[in-house]
């Protein structure tokens, strides 16, 4: 546990009940120089990591997450302001700089202990373990839908409440009145008996000398005034007039531009380059070979192959120069691999079931199958998927006299900073990373390959370099959502009751719970077999839930159909033990008028998936007209415990649905001769305006532990859509994307 000192600096403070506060209270001139440079204004006091109060009484939430578009800053600032009883118009936020003091300990805690009520006496132990774990990982990542549920619940609220307590005590001392007579309201401290009232900032300096309270009291939801309300996102005005600065918009004097290419089949570097034409081209500065790089992230380690860069005075010249290069890549054994051979391998490995690892096992599946009135079997498949963030990968780096400064949009600033330092052989203290607005992340921007390339180029060229990947490189050198095959067998009895559920699939990342089904079943056996390929894998919005949601929620529909029962009723009858799931499912069915007959050629499908602490059900309505599929309407219901920013949550659900719909309709990365066959939006399409369904989102505030919103909208859309197609046409979709089916999408 950290301690307050005379200089008002605290290395780490832990607050019982879940919050952990680091780098508290620091003022200009503080010895902790790394922190003090972030207290810029005269008269500013950094109360602790999450809170800064300046002498115009503006409270700044320092948000340890990257803004990928989710409006994270706004929701977190709402949580802080609520507990602090701040005037919302005096609340601002900024992203925490990429230095270890801002490592996101509460997020680690949320991921590890989400939903658990940790008894008070264990809290210090849990925190102690987490401090070390988080320090080791340099954990400052955005992903796992953790921003609001972890940082917010464990960090911001506790921080706000603690700061308010400290300010109240400081006010009481200054006024010589009992502290319980001091009221905090709208960023003012008030003593009603004497009619005194002063802004919070008047007490900031005194509060900075104080120890934080051991267990600040948090409000209950009926006391909320700022949480749960729609507030305008702070980051939108610069996003409508072109002034928002993304990494691609950074301009450094004397900067050159670069673009890169790596071996198409992921391994094997350069055999030979003929650069005669390129070197003679106008504006070309240099052609550089970059070594293989370790680009490990939290989801598995990986080393990316050698790449070739063309550096020029402008991006266009670099791109033209790249096109004119004749690169011969070294042949590797990957070159014989294709999507067909990969799926044949999955099929073999599932059948052989060598090294089968269980995810869940209960009852006697073999006996239930032997006794079954009917056994239902099916194999499902999904392809690799690229992320195609709207902003192509890019980074700008300056390397000079042993220091590196880099501007980038990334989901894991601290680990990127470490990776850049390692690749240059620098101490991490000599690398400054500026995280900019991010034009989408979706999991791709947690791998530091593009940061390393930019830094190495800047070191080599001796001038600032802006590296911009072409869209083609982005599609072909991604860390892909895995291709997966999943085999099912289910048994039902005479009444249609589900008596056995058996599922084996090839390939697993996380979370472990992704393939589990919530429905009551007497016996189950769920597990996976390893079936590695050379294709680099990474986290893709909702990680394993994106594929397993499709598999399990489609297959349960098949089971319901085999039992001759309505797919919604069939699910509902098997969720009696899970009232939250049941309520979400029911609400979706009701809002979508489930059961009201549709015209011929139209169909409805439903799906339910819990992920990252939130439960989401979606109902999709489609029309199939002479083979042309149109997705007309999506009704979504989410129970994320409590919606801090209801409109922000609706926006995230809409976003997750369209992202998942693009994948369900069109998304497919195929492998030919070891390499990705697709290259840009013409052959790796996205849903566009004309294909976008109307989306209605309903929020249930159950009051349970908070879940995420960025990812849980994605998993149910593909199965709800496939089930709707079945309802409309009688055609069961067991492979994605739908583009490959008989339907026109």
């Amino acid at each position: 546990m950290g301690k307050w000192t005379r200089r008002g600096f605290i290395t780490a403070g832990i607050i019982a009940g879940g919050g952990l506060i680091v780098g508290v209270a620091i003022r200009p001139g503080n010895r902790a120089t790394k922190l003090s440079k972030h207290v810029t204004g005269d008269g500013e006091t950094l109360l602790h990591t999450w809170v800064k109060l300046d002498n115009s009484n503006v409270v700044t939430a320092i948000v340890p997450h990257s803004e990928m578009g989710q409006g994270v800053g706004t929701a977190l600032a709402q949580m802080l302001a609520e507990e602090l009883d701040a005037d919302w118009s005096l609340v601002e936020f900024e992203e925490a700089p990429a230095i270890s003091e801002f490592a996101n300990y509460p997020m680690g805690k949320g991921m590890l202990f989400a939903g658990l009520d940790i008894p008070d006496f264990v809290v210090p132990t849990v925190d102690g373990v987490l401090i070390r774990t988080a320090q080791a990982l340099d954990l400052q990542i955005t992903g796992g839908s953790a921003s609001v549920r972890a940082t917010g619940a464990y960090g911001m609220r506790v921080a706000g409440a603690a700061v308010k307590e400290m300010l109240r005590i400081a006010a009481a001392e200054a006024w010589q009145v009992p502290v319980d007579q001091v009221i905090a309201r709208d960023s003012q401290m008030i003593h009603e008996a004497t009619g005194r009232s002063e802004p919070y900032s008047a007490f900031a300096a005194a509060a900075a000398e104080m120890s934080p309270p051991a267990s600040p009291v948090l409000k209950t939801s009926d006391e909320f005034k700022i949480m749960g309300r729609d507030v305008q996102r702070h980051d939108l005005p610069p996003k409508v007039d072109g002034t928002a600065i993304f990494a691609l918009d950074i301009r450094v004097p004397n900067m050159v531009y670069a673009t890169v290419r790596r071996a198409p089949s992921f391994a094997g570097g350069v055999e030979n380059i003929d650069d005669t034409v390129t070197r003679s081209m106008n504006g070309v500065v240099d052609i550089v070979k970059l070594p293989p790089a370790d680009v490990s992230a939290l989801l598995g380690s990986f080393s990316s192959a050698e790449s070739v860069a063309v550096v020029a005075e402008g991006y266009w010249q670099a791109k033209q120069g790249m096109n004119a290069l004749r690169i011969q890549w070294r042949a590797t054994e990957n070159d014989r691999v294709s999507s067909d051979s990969i799926f044949e391998q999955f099929d073999r490995d599932i059948s052989a079931a060598i090294d089968f690892k269980s995810d869940a096992s209960e009852g006697n599946v073999a006996a239930s199958i032997a006794d079954a009135a009917q056994v239902i079997e099916a194999d499902y498949r999904v392809p690799y998927l690229a992320h195609t963030c709207m902003e192509p990968l890019n980074a700008t780096a300056v390397v000079k006299e042993g220091f590196c400064e880099i501007w980038i949009g990334c989901q894991s600033p601290l680990s990127f900073r470490q990776a850049v330092a390692d690749s240059l052989g620098f101490d991490v203290e000599n690398v400054t990373l500026n995280n900019c607005f991010m034009g989408g992340g979706f999991g791709r921007k947690s791998r530091p390959d593009y940061a390393i390339q930019a830094a190495q180029l800047a070191a080599k060229i001796g001038r600032p370099v802006q590296l911009i990947w072409s869209r083609e490189e982005d599609v072909r050198q991604d860390f892909y959502r895995p291709a997966v095959q999943s085999r099912f067998r289910a048994a039902i009895d005479q009444e249609g009751n589900l008596t056995a559920w058996e599922n084996t699939y090839a390939g697993k990342m996380e979370p472990a719970a992704a393939p589990l089904v919530p429905y009551t079943v007497a016996a189950k056996k769920i597990g996976h077999v390893p079936s590695p390929t050379h294709v680099p894998l990474g986290a893709w919005r909702s990680v394993d839930h994106s594929q397993h949601g499709f598999f399990t929620e489609s297959f349960i529909d098949e089971v319901a159909t085999a039992a001759g029962q309505d797919p919604y009723e069939y699910r509902a009858a098997r969720l009696k033990h899970l009232p939250r799931q049941l309520a979400v499912l029911k609400k979706a069915a009701t809002e979508a008028q489930w059961g009201v007959p549709l015209a011929p050629g139209r169909g409805r499908g439903i799906a339910l998936q819990e992920c990252f602490g939130s439960i989401v059900a979606e109902v999709v309505e489609v029309t199939v007209n002479e083979g042309d599929l149109s997705v007309d309407r999506v009704v979504a219901v989410i129970d994320a415990g409590y919606a801090v920013s209801p409109d922000g949550m609706r926006a995230q659900i809409e976003s997750g649905i369209i992202y998942g719909l693009s994948a369900a309709l069109y998304g497919e990365i195929t492998i030919e001769d070891g390499a990705v066959a697709q290259s840009n939006f013409h052959d790796y399409p996205s849903v566009r305006m004309s294909k976008a369904p109307a989306i209605e989102t309903y929020i249930i505030n159950s009051g349970e532990a908070m879940g995420g919103a960025g990812e849980p909208g994605t998993p149910p859309i593909a199965p709800a859509l496939a089930n709707a197609v079945f309802n409309a046409t009688g055609q069961r979709i067991r492979e994605l994307p739908l583009q490959n089916s008989a339907l026109n999408v």
């Binding site: 939108l236 409508v240 993304f246 918009d249 989408g440 869209r471 926006a651 997750g656 109307a694």
Partner: protein, 168 residues
């Protein structure tokens, strides 16, 4: 040398005339609001207006706009402290997520409204389907276009401005 009028200011540009307008805007003129998304006229992130018509600047050689009027997102608002009605409705409807596609979306939408002050859903589909939003904010974009169109119907001055602006 190529001469182009960008946001009302005449610019003399010294680049290879085949260079796409996108890179001239971003690198020579420091107008970074116009974004790069695909480079092959598929995503609309680079949309600007040329004489009021939405164009993909990533595939438009700068020589093709010599002597023309180019409007970028930086020139969409009528004045320094004012917003175009679409920019206001983009904020009112909380349209952007990451925001990266939104310059292009706004430039396409503004070109649509300048031609058609009360677009139908089909009109919106037709004008906006060249602009991808990977964050999937299509319902909000649709709603914001309609509400801005509503503003125009009741405020003739806004319509006048749009026509004046986009026609030159």
């Amino acid at each position: 040398m190529t001469v182009v009028t960008v946001n009302g200011i005449e610019q003399k540009i010294q680049v290879d005339p085949t260079t796409p307008l996108l890179w001239v805007l971003r690198e020579q003129l420091q107008l970074t609001g116009t974004k790069f998304g695909c480079g092959i006229a598929q995503c609309g992130a680079c949309t600007v207006q040329v004489n009021g018509v939405a164009m993909r600047s990533c595939v438009t050689p700068v020589s093709a706009v010599a002597g023309q009027n180019v409007t970028t997102i930086e020139g969409l608002a009528p004045g320094p402290d004012e917003l175009h009605p679409l920019q206001q409705s983009w904020i009112d409807e909380q349209v952007p997520q990451c925001g990266y596609c939104q310059s292009g979306q706004l430039m396409s939408a503004a070109a649509l409204l300048a031609q058609n002050s009360s677009p139908s859903d089909d009109d919106i589909d037709g004008a906006m389907s060249g602009n991808i939003c990977r964050c999937g904010m299509y319902s909000r974009i649709r709603k914001a276009i309609k509400s801005a169109a509503g503003v125009q119907q009741f405020e003739p001055s806004a319509v006048d401005f749009l026509e004046g602006e986009t026609n030159g």
